[in-house]
């Protein structure tokens, strides 16, 4: 066999070997970083292929972020705080829900992280804060910075919440909208939404009675903000000496000073607060005495008095030297979720799940799709084989044709394994598209080379090969053009299909289909010589 004449076959062999290595060799690089691949390799699978949610099972939540952003503003650095507070009060939202960001991709921006913000009201609020809005554009969504922070926080929550292998990405649709995509294998929707469905903002609020002119009234004061809690040291959820679930928290020095000052000022360290006026929130929520509320996303999840030992150590100043206290909860589950919320931090804004998609699939169903899709593909391939045999009757033409079509899919699978592409159903549609165009092209090559019964050699072969290649090339370029809008516009679900088709057509036209021409020539020449 002449190496120079058969370089195409050699190239095909090299590609097949490389695919074998990628598919069955020692697990390659993408495996090392589980957090960055949105799939888990099933342990029973002998290959290095990765499967996406539709084939592996798990949950996917894809949603835009809640918020409205005004961009292309012109804001002085020094006015940021003023603008923030003015806009917040004009819009009647909390100060934490308004951000002023300078020098974003679209100039200076102000974002309001609340639902149902009207453009008109935001513009009016900005005008009231002295920001000109003639050139401003207002859109739903948040700034890139906030999006980035949210994605990182969600990722942290998923990692710490015990949902392993989850990934969070920011996806941009062709219409310019951003979606946060959260993929968690082996978890159901409830588990995921419990973890990240809400912002997870934790505060400690002092609720205490004050005697005034009209008798006793209650006041609320935040004594530990979410920010202060986030920057303290959060211990591991555990039970205390009395077996009650809790999370130990060690505050920063400055925060500890403010915290103890606030507690002393509001009377929490008094003997009344730890004695007769102890917290009785559970019995009498309307007249509860001195209570420290643990507030999660605006809801009171736990209420308790200040522990008398702690009260003493705050009074004596001991606390500030070792500012550790225990945040109690009603159950161990709550303690763990509190720990996750505190450690990962609050989400800057919520996921608008009602404007996105939610998908959950049992692993068993994914496995069923996997095996059945494989079977469907095989049966379709057999149908193709049947037709090809009926048409050519000569196994020397038909067999290599079917082998080549199979090799194409094999190389494509190797490619998917090598780059760690998580396979989904739409990719399987792509494989089918590739086999389809592949068989078309192989038929064109076979008919061209076998033209008029004479087996071409040398220049005649090259000439016929080139003629066949013109048609194949033209058809391939059309397919690639037809698929590229979907591949580059990022239409989520069909993107994988488009990418697989494009890569498959490229592998086919550049590697496998030309090699078939050479294989066919060699086989037919052999046959002729024997005759």
């Amino acid at each position: 066999m002449n190496l120079r004449d058969n370089w195409r076959i050699i190239m095909l062999t090299v590609f097949v070997l490389a695919s074998t290595f990628a598919l069955f060799g020692p697990a390659s690089a993408p495996d090392a970083d589980v957090n960055n691949s949105s799939s888990v390799g099933a342990s029973t699978d002998p290959t290095n292929l990765k499967y996406g949610l539709e084939l592996a099972g798990g949950s996917r939540i894809r949603a835009p972020l809640v918020g409205t952003t005004a961009e292309n503003l012109d804001i002085e650095q020094d006015n940021r705080a003023d603008i923030r507070s003015t806009v917040a009060s004009e819009m009647d939202v909390g100060g934490g829900d308004v951000n002023v960001r300078l020098n974003t991709e679209n100039g200076d921006a102000v974002e309001v992280l609340e639902r149902n913000v009207s453009e008109q009201r935001l513009r009016a609020a900005l005008e009231a804060a002295g920001v000109g809005t003639e050139d401003a554009t207002v859109r739903s969504g948040v700034t890139g910075e906030t999006r980035q922070q949210t994605v990182e926080t969600i990722q942290a929550k998923i990692n710490r919440g015990g949902l392993s292998g989850g990934t969070v990405t920011d996806q941009r649709s062709a219409t310019g909208d951003h979606f946060v995509v959260v993929d968690v294998p082996n978890a159901n929707t409830t588990q995921v939404l419990d973890l990240i469905g809400d912002q997870g903002e934790v505060r400690v609020v002092a609720h205490y009675p004050v005697s005034g002119d009209n008798g006793t009234e209650y006041r609320n004061q935040t004594v530990l903000t979410n920010r202060q809690l986030e920057r303290s040291q959060i211990g591991v959820a555990d039970t205390d000496r009395n077996g009650r679930p809790m999370v130990p928290i060690t505050l920063q020095e400055e925060d500890a000073q403010n915290y103890s000052q606030a507690l002393v000022d509001t009377g929490f360290t008094s003997s009344e607060a730890t004695g007769g006026q102890r917290c009785r929130y559970r019995e009498q929520p309307s007249d509860s005495g001195y209570c420290l509320y643990t507030v999660l996303d605006g809801e009171i999840v736990y209420a308790a008095s200040l522990n008398s030992n702690l009260a003493e150590s705050i009074e004596s100043g001991e606390f500030e030297k070792a500012p550790t206290f225990q945040m109690q909860t009603t159950s161990m589950d709550e303690a763990q979720s509190l720990q996750v919320n505190l450690r990962a931090g609050a989400l800057p804004t919520e996921l608008a799940t009602d404007e996105g998609t939610v998908l959950f699939l049992q692993q068993s169903l994914g496995d069923r799709f996997k095996s059945r899709a494989l079977l469907t593909g095989l049966i379709a391939w057999l149908a193709v084989s049947g037709m090809v045999f009926l048409r050519y009757k000569n196994p020397r033409v038909a067999l290599p044709m079917l082998m080549t079509a199979a090799a194409e899919v094999y190389i494509l699978l190797g490619f998917a394994a090598a780059i760690g592409l998580p396979l989904n159903l739409s990719y399987i549609a792509g494989f089918i598209a590739v086999i389809g165009t592949g068989v078309d092209d192989l038929l064109i090559i076979a008919d061209e080379i076998l033209n008029e019964g004479e087996i071409a050699t040398g220049r005649v072969f090259q000439n016929r090969f080139r003629k066949a290649f013109w048609v194949i090339g033209a058809a391939a370029v059309t397919t690639i053009i037809a698929m590229s809008p979907l591949a580059f516009l990022s239409l989520g679900d069909l993107q994988g299909f488009a990418i697989v088709t494009i890569v498959g057509v490229l592998i086919g036209v550049l590697v496998t289909r030309p090699a078939y021409g050479d294989v066919l020539r060699n086989l037919m020449l052999n046959q002729q010589q024997r005759e």
């Binding site: 469907t376 049947g386 389809g436 516009l489």
Partner: protein, 285 residues
Amino acid sequence: MVEFVVPEPDYDRYSNRQLAAVPLALLALALLVLAGWYLMTGAPVTPGIEFTGGTEIQIATDASQTEVRQAFDFEPDSVQPVAGSNEFIVTTQSADNEAIRSQAESAGYEIVSIQTRSASFGADAQRLALMGIAVAFVGMSILIFVLFRSFVPSLAVVLSAFSDIIIPLALMNLFGIKLSLGSVAALLMLIGYSVDSDILLNNHILRRRGSFYESTYRAMQTGVTMTVTSISAMTVMYIVSSLFKIPLLPDLAIVLVFGLVVDLMNTYMMNLSLLRWYKYEGVAR
């Protein structure tokens, strides 16, 4: 043994007008169906829940189909049993994932899978899909004109590809198939597939030696084999994947079968008549 030989049609018996009349009439009829559908429903093709928003839930239960239908607060669009299992697939326009989950759980059903898309997300996806098809079609047309550099043969290819998309769309309405991700993928694949046999025919007739009918028959031998092979593969895939209830694949396969059958007609009647006119009369002008 069965033989698969591409028959040689006797094109001489028919005039160009006669040949082109059938595909053009069908194309006109298809456009009429789409227009009528648009007037009646507000969309040329009925979009499925992937584009309108809604929920598809697959549940495992020993309950009967009627019981499943009544277990939910909403009126389900469809309740389909999954062959060979005790599972049902329920679809609905409601996009309240949480409510549907809790209703299924309180009815004692095991949720095998659930997928919800909000209406706004679906509308975006639909706009993108249509845009994708339009851009793909325009891109393909430009490429064809660049490749052949003559008006009539290029137009023949583009017109045939156009019809290959329009007639299956009309057929989808007639057979009650909704527009889904699978059928959008199929329509895009059709742009690529349908052009294969057209390019082959044009190439043989315009760029090769030999008489018009010789070239035509040679192109047909290859082209018809190509298309028939694909049709048989897709028919088999439609049957198997429908039985298996694999999402995406049945829609994709059936729309491809429609398109490929239509492509046989368009390529060897409409495209051919335009080429024959171009070869014998158009060039002479």
